[in-house]
Symmetry: C2
Subunit: 221 residues, 2 copies
């Protein structure tokens, strides 16, 4: 029975990867850059998305797919609130987005009038790591109060990312967090990760992160 179950899971993953490739090809044909944001619950994904969208040039047209495990529109409403289209994707309790859910979300967007799609994954440092969505880039948002040992405890999520944004640096004076130890943990898993330190609350570090991202977006335009 165990063997049978493994076979089925592999089938599903293969279908997932195929859909992911189709999504990526579709978005490239429309010159749209796409970004999958993964993080713990409460690392500040939505806040960073809002700050990033506001820091990008105003003629850069974005949309956000909001992954949630429950039918809540808290995050999607915040994105709508700054005038950016947002689609809420409810996983129905599942602990991660998959390529098929993202495909359905993208079908609800006007792709001819977009430069950039952000996918906000479900808050989880484990499950999203295994599922390709068809995005150009994966990133993790970490945060100071989560602690500096996360790369050692949840290694898989850091292996497939191109960028790491360390958020809530305004809390550094109040929390023990060893930045070099944290970075070493990630570099050991994935030496090519680009690091940014930001505070969505104070805005510190947002311009440098947004400028780097702007160049990525323009690279597929």
């Amino acid at each position: 029975m165990t063997t049978k179950r493994i076979e089925i899971v592999q089938d599903i993953l293969n279908v997932n990867d195929q859909i992911a490739e189709e999504t990526n090809a579709l978005l490239h044909s429309k010159h749209i850059f796409s970004l999958n944001i993964m993080a713990s619950p409460g690392a500040g994904k939505t806040s960073l998305i809002l700050k990033t969208l506001q820091a990008l040039p105003p003629d850069m047209r974005a949309a956000v797919l909001e992954g949630d495990t429950a039918p809540v529109t808290i995050d999607a409403e915040k994105v709508h609130g700054i005038g950016v289209p947002a689609i809420q994707i409810n996983t129905g309790g599942d602990c991660h987005l998959n390529a098929n859910l993202v495909k359905k979300g993208i079908q609800a967007l006007d792709l001819d009038n977009l430069d950039f799609i952000i996918v906000e994954n479900v808050g989880n440092l484990i499950c999203p790591a295994a599922w390709k969505l068809g995005t150009d880039m994966n990133m993790v948002i970490a945060s100071i109060p989560e602690g500096d040992d996360k790369p050692y405890k949840y290694p898989n999520i850091y292996r497939g990312i191109q960028a790491l944004v360390l958020n809530k640096i305004d809390l550094k004076p109040y929390v023990d967090f060893n930045v070099p130890y944290f970075k070493e943990g990630i570099t050991a898993l994935n030496p090519n990760v680009e690091f940014f330190e930001v505070s969505s609350k104070t805005g510190e570090g947002i311009p440098a992160w947004a400028e780097w991202l702007r160049k990525k977006i323009e690279s597929v335009a």
Copy 2:
């Protein structure tokens, strides 16, 4: 194929629940109280466990099962450091503990010389909710910097708990966190949850929480 997969998952859950019942009966026959602690990565599970163990009466004999997704012993070593037996359980990448892993962990303990077992689940607000471990009590540790909207976004984890410890209250001055909104979200899902506000860093609130827990432990002695 989809139907087949659901059947298999149900089989596994039934086996899991049966093992959980056996574990609970075994622990009760030894007059051991057991507690399953669930939380986001970085909410402060291990720190709270250490503070709690130090606040309980010294003649209360405890052990800790440390659930991790990777073969890291960071948390188990911290528990050992205060003279408490700790067993590290590596889920091999899985996003939650299950009853069989906990059963194996318990087999490594000297049950005739224990009053209390803490199970530290994998850091995750979604997957652990669905898996009974055989413990007497489930709880969630939340933390101020995670934000007050978590009960609305990750509802299932709060449905089966008896206690919620809101940690890192020393960070209240620096973070927007609406405690009544947070509590209302949980009470709407589960009206009988006992709330505690603590700081593992300053020790605030730990005595009240430890005293409540002491009575629970003594209730099975």
